[in-house]
Symmetry: C2
Subunit: 483 residues, 2 copies
Amino acid sequence: MSTERRTKVLEVLKTAEVGASLLVKGWVRTKRQNKNVAFIALNDGSTINNLQLVADPNQIAEELLKLVTTGACIAAKGDIVASQGSGQSVEMHVKELEILGEADPEKYPLQPKKHSLEFLREIAYLRPRTNTFGAVYRIRHAMIFAVHKFFNDKEFLNIHTPIITASDAEGAGETFRVTSLDMDNLPKNEEGAIDYKQDFFDKETNLTVSGQLEGELAAMALGQIYTFGPTFRAENSNTTRHLAEFWMIEPEMAFFDADDNADLAEEMLQYLVQYALDNCQDDLKFLHDREVEENKNKKESERPELYLIDRLKFVVDNKFERVTYTDAIDILRNSKPNKKKKFKYLIDAWGADLQSEHERYLVEKHFKKPVILSDYPKDIKAFYMRQNDDGKTVAAMDILFPGIGEIIGGSQREERLDKLEQRMDEMGVPKEELWWYLDTRKFGSAPHSGYGLGFERMILFVTGMTNIRDVIPFPRTPGNAEF
Amino acid sequence: MSTERRTKVLEVLKTAEVGASLLVKGWVRTKRQNKNVAFIALNDGSTINNLQLVADPNQIAEELLKLVTTGACIAAKGDIVASQGSGQSVEMHVKELEILGEADPEKYPLQPKKHSLEFLREIAYLRPRTNTFGAVYRIRHAMIFAVHKFFNDKEFLNIHTPIITASDAEGAGETFRVTSLDMDNLPKNEEGAIDYKQDFFDKETNLTVSGQLEGELAAMALGQIYTFGPTFRAENSNTTRHLAEFWMIEPEMAFFDADDNADLAEEMLQYLVQYALDNCQDDLKFLHDREVEENKNKKESERPELYLIDRLKFVVDNKFERVTYTDAIDILRNSKPNKKKKFKYLIDAWGADLQSEHERYLVEKHFKKPVILSDYPKDIKAFYMRQNDDGKTVAAMDILFPGIGEIIGGSQREERLDKLEQRMDEMGVPKEELWWYLDTRKFGSAPHSGYGLGFERMILFVTGMTNIRDVIPFPRTPGNAEF
């Protein structure tokens, strides 16, 4: 049976007719057995739902049934019958059984009991075999596909921007060095410094922190593009929201101003959430119920106002609130937590950088919906953002989500060469390293905009998971590069 | 006009009705002008085709028209009229014109003349503005989308495997080191060696050479998965087929044997090529004609037997040839170039590794179609490939394409713990580093298979380009990490 074609559990549960004789393969989640009958819950990853296999110990050899333990991989042939119990509509009466791979109950770490997410993180190589992570990874896939479909339908081109780059000109944070030099025997030049001319790329190189600048180059030729690739930050942040390696989606659009940019970002976020609601019902229901269960014993005040599926619906049903930084500062300055000195960082003057506590107050307490915050002070934003006429602010926008904080950051880009150069000089960004970026402002420049979506933050929102290490298969964080 | 909503050139040419008044924006490819009329070829990247703008110098200010030079970005409002000349069916009679960004003809490098691909590589940041690279990048996007669509339709899950890894256990080649240590001041431990415990991940880390091993982990839980991400080789190969940074697609499937694996790979390749034929007609026609043109003055014997579109059709119209390594060795041993000693590496015995010249002979001369070569000697293949019963070969397959050579490499994976461990010992692969990989053979193992498609090699085939540096936006090769 091991090489015969199987029917996926998803198909069995969705479309198999009672009476059909089928072959299924998958991993045993649980087995309950008495003298007369064995019930085996089989999962093959195609759906969160298990197929119940019913085996008669008088028909299936005892030695075989003994090896049907949690984690074992089996193949089973049998007839589809209407299910007796609750749950699924059909089950399989097993006629033939084969053990493809055993799982010693003494050694297999994933025994059928509740495991902490912390423990599962340590065995990240096995955690896709759990309900929770199966659901998260299926949803993650659906979101990947939805991103590509959204942009493809709008005739955006996916551009693979480089991972290894020779500059950290954007200054977005600490970068990882990439080298092929012999670390134990670094070559030196005449001045006694490391001779990077002998390195693979003849110079110092890093892992990219963003594909934006290269994305802009492509947009200024092809019109509308997006990147979807890994980005890296060597920041020693051991939080539930930071990864050293994470995936970003960065669209860049010629001829888009700041409003067009915000419109596209809002449309995309609502599209992605709606796609999940339409295509991941079983997985979302599981994660939703899990959240309800976990909050059951909490005080009313500590429970979320909305549970997962309701939060998702809320985002697609409501226009995002659009507010300028200046207005937000007024709101925050006059807010209760500011007056009562409950904020860790009190807001007293225009120009302050907003902290997570402020963003969450605006989103979760004041507006109670996603917020698009725009027109930040230029001094707290990057050099490439378009300067507004007031001389003080730039055409930046951040989109803030409940429970997540900033999920998108973007701006209209400065397309005027003189303004851009002046800002680079003011901020100490080396123009000579970015000559190619400046060239797009010399040759056929045009108004254009773009933004970046942190993909894992999006998955946090859509799955309701609370630690970013639980929404990427193999998280990279300080001290952790396992598997 | 700069912030008003434009109509894309693609839409204008496809669907605009004569008489419509529209706004278009894009980059000037050429301008021809006399006293009575100016013809401006406008391209906005949405299609390879230009929209012809017809401007009356008596209506549009002379100062403006002067700035309409190759490379400038402009916005134009006007009426759609039936085209007078050949080529496109409609053109625009301009009523209003705005210069969004100038392009000084003295400085703009992309003047309207034929540029060599070598020159364009040096200005990779501008080359998407050329016909050839616009076509290549649009096709590249179409292939990215087609990959995701193919697998999504089959309910495969896209898994993001890690880019930074702590082991080079696969031994696939030289790797790039990733570090956040201060290179000028490397910390040393008590033994005087570099103290990687102080590095970001508390150990030595590299850029991944393949997502396969992690992909297998996911397949052994979720059934059918694929990766699509960047991979890296620090090999000093300055060839037309090697990049230091390239993208790979690696599906891994539980319950697939070697035949299922070959079937899926063949179906996928034909799907991708058919998708290009269906969705990239204009771009393929341009590249096809370009190839015909380039070969015009060559001797008959040096011209390709089939030009681009015919090569693509040939691949979708013909079943791939399936042949074992052993049979291929017989064919090669008895081939003319072997007997006449025309091969650089003569084939005289079973066990020889096949070189590019042999692969091309099989594909281009002997079978004249794509070839799936299987069951290689175990000693020239990786440790994870499933050992055949003959004790000599493994269930490997390579798919060889005309003009490209190996485009896919894959195998049934060794799912038997004892066989796998024995092979790792024989080949010196450190088992302790891959304990998690071995665990999947301990807990619920199952027959499974997978393969890797080098995405850029696929794009080479689909576009007919001949240098791999010309099918990725920003190529990374020895000495080159520009932009």
